[in-house]
Symmetry: C2
Subunit: 220 residues, 2 copies
Amino acid sequence: MPYPPGHRDRTRSRILRSAQILFNRRGFDGVSIDDIMADAGLTRGGFYGYFGRKSELYAAAIGLSLAEPPASRWKGVDVDFTAADAARQVIRAYLSRQHFEDIDRSCPLVALPSDVARQDPTVKRVFEAVFKAMVELFERSRGSDGRENRRRALAMAGICVGGMVVARSLDDADLADAVRDAARSVALRLGGWEDTEGDSHRSGIRRPARPNRGRSKRPS
Amino acid sequence: MPYPPGHRDRTRSRILRSAQILFNRRGFDGVSIDDIMADAGLTRGGFYGYFGRKSELYAAAIGLSLAEPPASRWKGVDVDFTAADAARQVIRAYLSRQHFEDIDRSCPLVALPSDVARQDPTVKRVFEAVFKAMVELFERSRGSDGRENRRRALAMAGICVGGMVVARSLDDADLADAVRDAARSVALRLGGWEDTEGDSHRSGIRRPARPNRGRSKRPS
DNA sequence: TGTACATCAGTGAACGCGCGTTCACTGATGTAC
DNA sequence: TGTACATCAGTGAACGCGCGTTCACTGATGTAC
């Protein structure tokens, strides 16, 4: 067995990381295998030693988020996944300006949904697994079990993803911010938390988290 | 001026309608100008007599929803836009199984968001106009004015669009239904209505709308 | 009413280009001796 | 320790194909007379 052990795995990882970034940026059709291999420091022909088809790589790149949740990747937005209020931290990180702007490290749920809707079932299944992981995190955030808790978790995940997807497709930056704000507000209230951030993060100010400082006019 | 008056407009409309359907089905990159012109009963070369670039047609096709809101197009899901509870009807129509399944006549906000996020500002502006129309409909649904009302409308639109986008990208039909249900429930409650539909529409049963028949466990 | 004509909607071949995929080959590496 | 070798990661030319766009041309039409 020539080449040091782990060499192949490292190369595969490099291809995957390049793919993840480029697909996030330009979508499935907007990226060629040539682009990805060149970004990984390789040439076209080597690709098929690692993946059988382009869509197989696409699925694998989306699946990366299962091992390394995007919410742990944005600088300045730290999430402690073991904390009691992990779900609350995830909502704020997910709908943060950092996530909004960081296309390269974006959650694939935000960057690729209407792309994925047209792909084969293999791709949709991986996308679904990532979404389910998010739903289950929200589900666990309450002690309670049952249908109403799951429905609440589904709505929270739908709002987080949907709010970001819409915000990214708008031309007006202020409107995009307003959509993120509204989505965060609703998602946090669904989780039983007040929205302590208001509009302040629009100017980049980060306040330490402090409960019940919100300014909401209607009971949750 | 040869050719009867209106001839050119009718041809343009035919191209636009073909484009709308095909883009909804396969996205911007998945459709060729050849496909669209053939669908409209024309040949490739004629295209540039009507539109300057492919992306110009894309923007125009998305803009069709401004003149003819998708919510009025799904069979069996009628919306009276002049009714007092038009917003409530729109939410139910938007998150209906009919809209979920009818890709061809889908709202572009649902079919194309991550496509649009990568297009030039012209396209994003049209997409934005469609989204704004939806937000304003929800905003008007309450007599009240002001920031909180707008925030509520933005959240409602975000949930409607986002819920559908996510549902369409999942492989598991039951999970997709659950996401739609959860989104509808939250959107209706944000609007101040009970969700009277529950899970019943999953089996295709349509009940006449009747207020306060819901089974929600928590006050809105 | 009939005919010649100007208009312009629509045609289809051609352009240059980039794509996904295949495949015969190269050459760097660890191993056997 | 040094050398020959087998392995296989990676190369790059080539394949067939479809794309967006251009453009010289065709021919159906309404109009002028």
